[in-house]
């Protein structure tokens, strides 16, 4: 469905945001994970045809979208990380405007989508008065107007409260049943329960692309738990990758990423997805 072939995006000679990235994606929820500055947003913008690759190709159903951007735009829903709404425009008018821009002829679809994101009661309210969560939902409704085959969502839960996050996450999971939903985030919990595939980026490069189960599997045997005193903690910090440290009375409970026993008394632990990703990142860094 969507294939990226050796995609590179450079800004001048100094900055390469995305470097030689190749990826093949099919319908389902795909989590694009990486730290800030890893190149996720640039990659998303290239897929959304907002910018073109410096080299390489992005193929959508075999068509190079740099040459024929409208091939994907007609089947694309895009929700950027930061977006706003026009002043003095109701949610309904905002949707009507984008429906017209996208050539959506079914007026009932706007109503259905506002119901889907639970904003139908607020349709006539000025969109500029919406809360952050409501704005995000309006944004996703806008992205779904043309019933897209590919939905690109950049940092979807930034600034949302826990309830809104959960609601938004479930909505994206449902959409992923029959569409390609590409979610960019640096918050692992956003995608760990809904993504069928995780693409991990670091410094513009794709360092892994696999199912969450496979990534967890690889991390097993590399995540340890230990309890040490303050002096031991300082020593361990210098030689291992401490994932978590929690003070418990006089001692400190640790979670550590390390390929072998990091200290006497340490015990193998079942990694969380976040820990697995961190362990993977450290392993890549050390290999490099």
């Amino acid at each position: 469905m969507l294939e990226l072939q050796n995609v590179t995006k450079s800004f001048g000679k100094q900055l390469t945001a995305v470097a030689d990235l190749s990826l093949r994606l099919q319908p389902g929820v795909v989590g694009l994970i990486g730290h800030n500055g890893a190149g996720k947003t640039t990659l998303m913008q290239m897929i959304a045809t907002l910018t073109t690759p410096s080299s390489g190709r992005i193929l959508f159903d075999g068509i190079d979208i740099a040459k024929k951007p409208d091939a994907i735009r007609t089947r694309l829903g895009y929700l950027p990380q930061d977006f706003g709404v026009y002043r003095n425009v109701s949610a309904l008018e905002f949707m009507q405007y984008f429906a017209a821009l996208k050539g959506v002829r079914d007026p009932a679809r706007i109503r259905r989508l506002l119901e889907l994101v639970n904003l139908h009661d607020q349709a006539k309210r000025m969109a500029s008065t919406f809360s952050g969560g409501m704005l995000r939902r309006l944004g996703i409704a806008q992205a779904l107007l043309n019933d897209p085959d590919i939905l690109v969502v950049d940092e979807p839960t930034a600034g949302l409260d826990p309830e809104e996050r959960l609601r938004f996450r479930n909505l994206l999971a449902e959409l992923g049943f029959n569409k390609l939903v590409l979610i960019s985030t640096h918050i692992v919990s956003d995608v760990e329960t809904i993504a069928g595939q995780l693409a991990i980026m670091k410094s513009g490069r794709l360092i892994a692309c696999d199912t969450p189960g496979a990534i967890l599997g690889r991390a097993r045997g590399q995540v340890w738990s230990a309890s040490v005193d303050a002096a031991g903690y300082d020593a361990l910090r210098a030689t291992t990758h401490v994932l978590q440290a929690l003070r418990q009375g006089e001692r400190i409970a640790l979670r550590i990423a390390h390929p072998s026993l990091p200290c006497p008394g340490a015990q193998l632990a079942e990694p969380s997805l976040e820990e697995a990703l961190m362990a993977h990142r450290y392993a890549v860094r050390e290999a490099a």
Partner: protein, 514 residues
């Protein structure tokens, strides 16, 4: 300590402005204009003539002539260049940081004001340097730096202080922020222009303290040496057969200098309320929201007229049915009208008036419609960016490239909606006027789109549009100044020229950031 804080703020402010590419462009434009306003007498034109005789290009003449021209431009353009820094702070998320800092609001405002004055002085310095170079090329006499300096200080000094004070006040008080503030300042500027007849037509030319542009001072100074009733200041033809006149090196009388000193003090008055009204980025005062909207007369009017926005529903519906750019442009028309309900009311009124008014009243109606339309469409090209919808709009079919053309098409369509009925009636009575109206609308829409794309802001076009409108109404005889056929002096040549300029502007905007 206090002076150190203000000095730091002012220098920072000046540095921020001077490091921008737009400042470089502005400087180049200032230098080009400063050069162009001093024509080469060998070409049959001069900067100043009296009874058809040209005045020699001495230091005093060039200093007076150039300051008079520069003052008008800087008083208007300078304000629009200066204002908007606090809105920029807000957009960048720095407003809250500044508001929560220990820095006193009054020091902040003073710092901003000083920075603004420094910035204007830098531009004025560039203008003066250009005139000095021009003097070396075209001058008729030695370059006298003190003559230049005194003229620039006396004429442009109070102007720079007043312009910076207004810019700070307009930025500090929420009701003056935004487009209505832009319009209000334009009225203030026009008001100063309106004082000139009192100076030139009275028995004795006097310097007016509240004329911050300094035009009255220039005219008053000249009145002692030449017949100001038969004087032309600006690019003008002259009779080469007549002997050139020479201005004395010093034209400034003590009374004029005293009045200008008073003007400089009065120029600080707008700063005083700014110190007390400064919003300090308080969310309930500057954040766009219901509370704030109720304070704005325009927002209040739009709120009252909000039911009229329902009339745009058929436009939205039609937009979805039209394919490609036509549907998208119509969607932009519908969005523009639904965001400004007052424009719908004015549009309806324009239709009724265009049908019932006698033919001879159509021209003023068209002019009023064009004025409303120009203000309305000025922010169309920058709207997506301002609202944070730029990326949403670029990911739809056609992308960012088509957005430019659809917004241009929407601007033209809105122009036709406002003036269409009048244009149809004009076609019967004065077809050339109707043609001028159409070409003028297209050219103005193209310039709005191009300038909006180049500057990323509505202000550049708005300033030039209002200035052009003012000049267009004042100038009765020049065909090229009759952009929309208001005076009926447009010719086929001027109509063609404006059409070609419109095409060039539209294409230039398209190529920019392509």
């Amino acid at each position: 300590m206090i002076s150190e804080v203000i000095r730091t703020l002012a220098l920072l402010e000046a540095r921020v402005r001077l490091r921008r590419t737009s400042t470089l462009v502005t400087l180049l434009a200032v230098m080009a204009l400063s050069w162009l306003i001093i024509p080469d007498p060998a070409g049959g034109q001069t900067l100043m003539s009296v009874h058809g005789a040209r005045v020699r290009y001495t230091s005093s003449m060039l200093a007076l002539g150039s300051t008079a021209q520069a003052s008008l431009l800087f008083a208007l353009g300078g304000f629009y260049l200066l204002r908007g820094r606090m809105a920029e702070d807000q957009r960048a998320g720095l407003g809250g940081v500044i508001g929560a800092s220990m820095l006193g609001g009054r020091f902040f405002v003073l710092g901003r004001w000083c920075g603004g004055v420094l910035y204007l002085l830098a531009l004025i310095g560039a203008a003066m340097a250009t005139v000095l170079v021009c003097h070396l090329v075209r001058g008729e006499g030695p370059v006298e730096p003190l003559v230049y300096l005194s003229a620039y200080v006396i004429v442009l000094g109070p102007m720079a202080l007043f312009t910076a004070s207004c810019a700070v006040l307009w930025d500090s008080w929420a009701p003056l922020m935004g487009k209505r503030g832009d319009l209000l300042y334009f009225i203030v500027w026009v008001g100063q222009m309106a004082m000139l007849p009192a100076v030139t037509e009275g028995p004795v030319a006097t310097t007016i303290p509240v004329d911050f542009t300094g035009m009255s001072a220039v005219v008053s100074a000249l009145s002692a040496h030449v017949d100001i009733h038969h004087m032309s200041l600006g690019i003008a033809d002259f009779d080469p057969a007549l002997a050139p006149l020479t201005l004395p090196a010093s034209v400034w009388r003590a009374d004029i200098v005293a009045v200008r000193a008073l003007s400089a003090v009065l120029a600080l008055l707008p700063l005083w309320p700014a110190l007390y009204l400064f919003h300090r980025f308080s969310p309930d005062r500057v954040k766009p929201g219901r509370t704030r909207a109720r304070r704005s007369p325009l927002a209040l009017l739009n709120g009252w007229l909000r039911p009229l926005a329902r009339l745009t529903q058929p436009l939205f519906a039609l937009a979805t049915r039209l394919p490609g750019i036509a549907g998208q442009a119509l969607a932009d028309v519908a969005l523009t009208l639904s965001t400004t309900s007052s424009a719908i009311a004015l549009l309806l009124a324009a239709q009724v008036l265009a049908m019932v008014l006698p033919a001879q009243m159509l021209a003023p109606l068209v002019l009023a419609c064009v004025a409303v339309w120009g203000v309305l469409v000025s922010d169309l090209p920058a709207r997506d960016g301002d609202a944070g919808c730029a990326m949403l709009g670029a990911a739809v079919p056609g992308g960012a490239a088509r957005r430019y053309w659809r917004q241009l098409a929407a601007a033209v369509t809105l122009g036709l909606m406002f003036t269409g009925v009048a244009a149809l009636r004009l076609t019967v009575h004065a077809p050339l006027r109707a043609l001028a109206l159409l070409s003028g609308l297209f050219a103005l829409a193209a310039f709005a789109s191009m300038l909006g794309r180049l500057s990323g802001s509505a202000r550049t076009f708005l300033v030039l549009f209002l200035l052009g409108l003012y000049v267009g109404v004042q100038v009765h005889t020049v065909a090229m100044a009759d952009v929309v056929g208001f005076h009926g002096t447009a010719t086929l040549a001027s109509v063609s020229a404006w059409s070609l300029m419109g095409i060039a502007a539209a294409w230039g905007g398209h190529l920019w950031k392509r």
